[in-house]
Each structure stands twice: as structure tokens, then as C-alpha cells.
């Protein structure tokens, strides 16, 4: 057995809000293997984004431990790529300067950086937009800039928090297909948070269902659809339908529960 890419052990997250203690995550344990594509689904406020933030080291956990690539996560985790839900592209830098940012931080020389940036822009279909400022781009293009930026420095583990949530349906499919291609070509480990069950099934090799507050892992569904997958066609396969039924059965009572809160 190879060592896990990410190993989450009995992680709790409690915080004090309005004079009472709220349990956001209750004793979550999970092993994510190297090269896996794992999707987190669950109702709003179930702590799936919180868990992602903890893997990234942005939020401290109340108890438990997270080990990523044999390193316990105790501070900002500089060995992952993180595509946040909100726009994280720096508006005062051009597309090129944004994509080159992680390389700049690593002291990569200008010539080398330029070459790498050009490659990445090609990869996400943004050739010719290097000199544009983010405000000149659409939301979907900015997401692709963030994706190029994340891939530019080649982290082995990618954390993605509803990266395609704000995109229109067609563009979403295009981006999903690009992501699958990159994942397969570059052998990444991906943890992907989404609200969209169909997206989770189309992309992931394993879908984790979180229960509503307190957040717990309720159910795990391995997706038995071989790669390479075509995200356009995958939803017509019987295996997709079966997975969807199982996941919906587990997820729907949680959503109803969330509504009552």
C-alpha cells in the first residue's frame, strides 16, 4: 500500500458564534490516495469547504490531524494548489503577471517564467490574452487564469472549491473536460468541492457525502466509470444513473435537514 496523499484523522472544527459553541465538523477521518480524484458533496454549511481550507492550512482545526505528503499541516500549506470559490486572480496584474506569480515567488528567472506562462496559457486556451487585465475578461476566463496559475508551479495536489460554480452550463462542461485531461496527463491528486452531483459523478473516482451540521462523512460512493471520460456523454451511462440514485438517496434528507435549521 502506497502512503496516502492526504490523511485526515479525527478532525473536529468547533467555533464560538453568538455566545454558543457550534460544531462545524465532527470527527472526520478520510484517506485520499495519490492520484485520486475525490469530490465532496453535501448541503450548505456542512463543513466541506472548511475541511478544504484546513487541508490548505488556512483554518486551524480544533482537534485531530491532517497529514499531506507525509507533512503534518500546521500552517499555510505551500505544497498544494488551491482554486478558491471566490475570484483570487489579482486584479492589478495582467493575465501573464498573474500566471507567473507563483514562479516569481520561487525566484524563477524572467525568461524561464515567460516560457512557462506561455505554455500554461496555451493549456487553458487563453493564448493572446496575456496582456489583458482581469477586468477585461469574463468570469470563466478568470477561472481559467486561476487554473493556469495553479498549474504553473506544478503542485501534486489540487484543492478546488466549487471552481466552476459560477460558469454557464456549456463552459462548465468545457472546463470539466480540460480538468480531467490535465489530471490524467499530469497524475495529480484532486480534492473537489461541489454542489453539483452530476459534476461530482462525471469527474471523480470517489464521491464523499457530508451530512448537515455537524458535518460528518455520511456516505462514500466509488464511481465505476473508466477514464478517460467524456463529460458530455458520461451522464447517459447506466453507471452514472446508478451512482446518481445512490448519492441522491443519501444527500436529499440532509438537504431537507438543512432547511429546517
Amino acid at each position: 500500500m502506497t502512503s496516502a496523499a492526504i490523511s485526515i484523522e479525527g478532525v473536529d472544527k468547533r467555533y464560538i458564534g453568538r455566545g454558543r459553541e457550534v460544531v462545524a465538523l465532527d470527527h472526520v477521518s478520510l484517506r485520499i490516495e495519490e492520484g485520486e480524484f475525490v469530490a465532496f458533496v453535501g448541503p450548505s454549511g456542512c463543513g466541506k469547504s472548511t475541511l478544504l481550507n484546513m487541508i490548505a492550512g488556512i483554518i486551524p482545526m480544533s482537534s485531530g490531524s491532517i497529514v499531506h505528503d507525509d507533512r503534518p499541516v500546521t500552517a499555510i500549506n505551500r505544497h498544494v494548489g488551491y482554486l478558491t470559490q471566490a475570484d483570487s486572480v489579482l486584479p492589478w496584474r495582467t493575465v501573464e503577471q498573474n500566471v507567473g506569480l507563483p514562479l516569481e515567488y520561487r525566484g524563477v528567472g524572467a525568461a524561464e517564467r515567460q516560457k512557462r506562462v506561455a505554455e500554461m496559457l496555451e493549456l487553458v486556451d487563453l493564448k493572446g490574452f496575456g496582456k489583458a487585465f482581469p477586468k477585461e475578461l469574463s468570469g470563466g476566463m478568470r477561472k481559467r487564469v486561476a487554473l493556469a496559475q495553479m498549474l504553473a508551479y506544478g503542485p501534486d495536489t489540487l484543492l478546488m472549491d466549487e471552481p466552476f460554480g459560477a460558469l454557464d452550463a456549456q463552459l462548465k462542461l468545457v472546463m470539466q473536460q480540460q480538468l480531467l485531461r490535465i489530471w490524467q496527463e499530469q497524475k495529480k491528486t484532486i480534492v473537489f468541492v461541489t454542489h453539483d452531483l452530476a459534476e461530482a459523478i462525471a469527474l471523480a473516482s470517489r464521491v464523499i457525502v457530508f451530512s448537515g451540521r455537524p458535518g460528518k462523512i455520511k456516505y462514500v460512493e466509488p464511481i465505476d466509470i473508466p477514464y478517460p471520460r467524456d463529460v458530455f456523454k458520461v451522464r447517459f451511462l447506466p453507471a452514472f444513473e446508478a451512482a446518481y440514485d445512490n448519492l441522491w438517496r443519501e444527500l436529499s434528507p440532509e438537504i431537507a435537514k438543512g432547511e429546517e435549521l
Binding site: 488551491y82 489579482l90 492589478w92 520561487r106 487585465f133 477585461e136 469574463s138 456549456q170 463552459l171
Partner: protein, 278 residues
């Protein structure tokens, strides 16, 4: 397909310019020209009325007249007075502005980084801010004498507060997502400062600078009013003492002109530095 439309729209399509677009742009250009013409006409009308009213409606002793004022300016220009006094005023303003904004910016960054320090000192800063800075001018004259140093001190103290408060707010306003995202990408403390905090605060800082340049000029001139032997403020104060309205108006017009030029330059600089903004 969607992507292509998307990208075309975002970058401004290079499709042949249609007639409607041309007409629209020509209309905008015409309107702009009309504004310029009207602005010029207004100025001419105002000066003409002033010239006419002087001596007919009101004694020129009080309101002088455009001809006399421009005559005065012309004399100053020829005998070098304009250059001598204006250069002193501008020099004091520029140095005061530079010192005030450098200290304001540095302390603003520092306070923005250390929230505890900021919280402790908050009431004192508010109190200091509430003092009309011009009330400090006599004190500065005692400390630094009637030379240029006291004028620099007045304008620096005004500029300092505006820049400090704006920088401070700018740093506090930085989106934490940008900080976390860049840290994960491998940014050091300095890297975050250089690539996120300073550029993000820049919009605020520039606003602060823009507002404070006219203040710096005001500070210098007030300092010169109170006690000086050179500068535009000194000329105005001296002419007032001699009931020389021609020179008073000439001095005021110089200040108005300088203020307008500085504001124009700042606007251009701002437009360039903040070109990334929507």
C-alpha cells in the same frame, strides 16, 4: 462556441466598424467639443463682465479688473517675481507633500499590519486628526522659524494624516482571499506585502494623495500668510496690507492656476496607475 463569443465580447471585437458605431462616436466627439467651447465662452463672459463691472458697478479698489490683474501678472513675469515666489511656494509644497506622504504611507502600512497597535492608538489618532492642522502653524513657526521649514512642516502635517488614514484603511480592506491564495502559492511575508497589500492599498493611497496635494498647497500658503518673506502667500498677505487688490487677485489667480494644473496631472497619473480597475 460560447467561449468564442465570450472572448470576443471581453476584448472588444475587431469586426469592421459599422455605421451606427461611427455615428455614435461622432456624436460623443461633438458633445465633447461643445463642452469645451461652452467652457471657454463662460470664461470669456465672466472676465468681460468683471472688466465691465469694475468701475461701473463696483469701485476697482475692491475688485480690481482683469486688465489690471493680468497687467500685474505680466509685470511679475518680466521682473522675475512670479518665478521667485512661485518656486518657493511650490518647493515647500512638494517637500511637505513628499515628507508627509512618505511618513503617512509607512505608518499606515505598519498600523494596518499590527491591528493591536492600531486599536490601542486609535483614540489618540482620532483626537490628533480632529485638530485643524492650520492651528499648528503658529507652533511650527516657533519651532522652525519663519523660513521655508515651517511651511514644509505645515503642509507635511496635513498630508501626513490624509495619506496615513487612507493607507491604513487600504491595508485593512485587502481581501484575505488574495493573501491566503498567494501564501499557498509560496509568497513570503515580503512577497505578500509587495504583490498584494501595497498594490491593493494603492487605490486608497492614490485617492489620499490626490486629495492631499491641494491641502499641501493650502498649508504652505497659510504658513506664508502668517509669517514669511517669500512665496505667493507672502505676496498676497503683503499686498493686502497695502490695499493693493491688483496683486491680491493676481496671487489668487496664480494659486488657482497651479492648483488646477496639479489636479490635472494627478488625474492622469491616477488613470495610469489604476488602469486595472473597472
Amino acid at each position: 462556441m460560447t467561449m468564442r463569443i465570450d472572448e470576443g465580447a471581453a476584448m472588444g471585437t475587431s469586426a469592421p466598424v459599422s455605421r451606427a458605431v461611427k455615428d455614435f462616436e461622432a456624436g460623443l466627439a461633438r458633445r465633447k467639443l461643445l463642452v469645451y467651447v461652452c467652457q471657454f465662452a463662460f470664461g470669456v463672459a465672466f472676465l468681460s463682465f468683471w472688466q465691465w463691472a469694475s468701475g461701473r458697478l463696483i469701485d476697482p479698489f475692491f475688485i480690481s479688473s482683469p486688465a489690471a490683474v493680468f497687467g500685474k501678472l505680466y509685470t511679475w513675469l518680466l521682473n522675475g517675481d512670479l518665478f521667485n515666489h512661485l518656486s518657493i511656494t511650490l518647493y515647500a509644497t512638494a517637500i511637505g507633500f513628499a515628507i508627509g506622504s512618505a511618513i503617512g504611507f509607512s505608518l499606515g502600512l505598519l498600523f494596518g499590519k499590527f491591528a493591536f497597535l492600531a486599536e490601542v492608538l486609535d483614540p489618540y489618532i482620532t483626537a490628533l486628526y480632529s485638530i485643524p492642522k492650520l492651528a499648528l502653524a503658529p507652533l511650527f513657526i516657533i519651532w522652525f522659524g519663519i523660513g521655508i521649514e515651517s511651511k514644509i512642516a505645515v503642509s507635511a502635517s496635513i498630508v501626513f494624516f490624509v495619506v496615513f488614514l487612507n493607507t491604513f484603511s487600504g491595508v485593512r480592506e485587502v481581501n484575505p482571499i488574495f493573501i491566503h491564495a498567494t501564501q499557498i502559492m509560496g509568497a513570503s511575508q515580503w512577497g505578500v506585502m509587495r504583490t498584494v497589500i501595497i498594490p491593493s492599498a494603492m487605490a486608497w493611497v492614490i485617492t489620499g494623495l490626490k486629495v492631499s496635494v491641494p491641502y499641501a498647497l493650502v498649508g504652505t500658503v497659510i504658513g506664508e500668510f502668517m509669517s514669511a518673506n517669500r512665496g505667493i502667500g507672502f505676496i498676497i498677505a503683503q499686498a493686502t496690507g497695502l490695499f493693493d487688490t491688483n496683486s491680491v487677485f493676481a496671487g489668487i489667480i496664480v494659486l488657482a492656476f497651479v492648483g488646477a494644473v496639479i489636479n490635472g496631472l494627478l488625474k492622469i497619473t491616477e488613470g495610469h496607475l489604476l488602469r486595472w480597475r473597472a
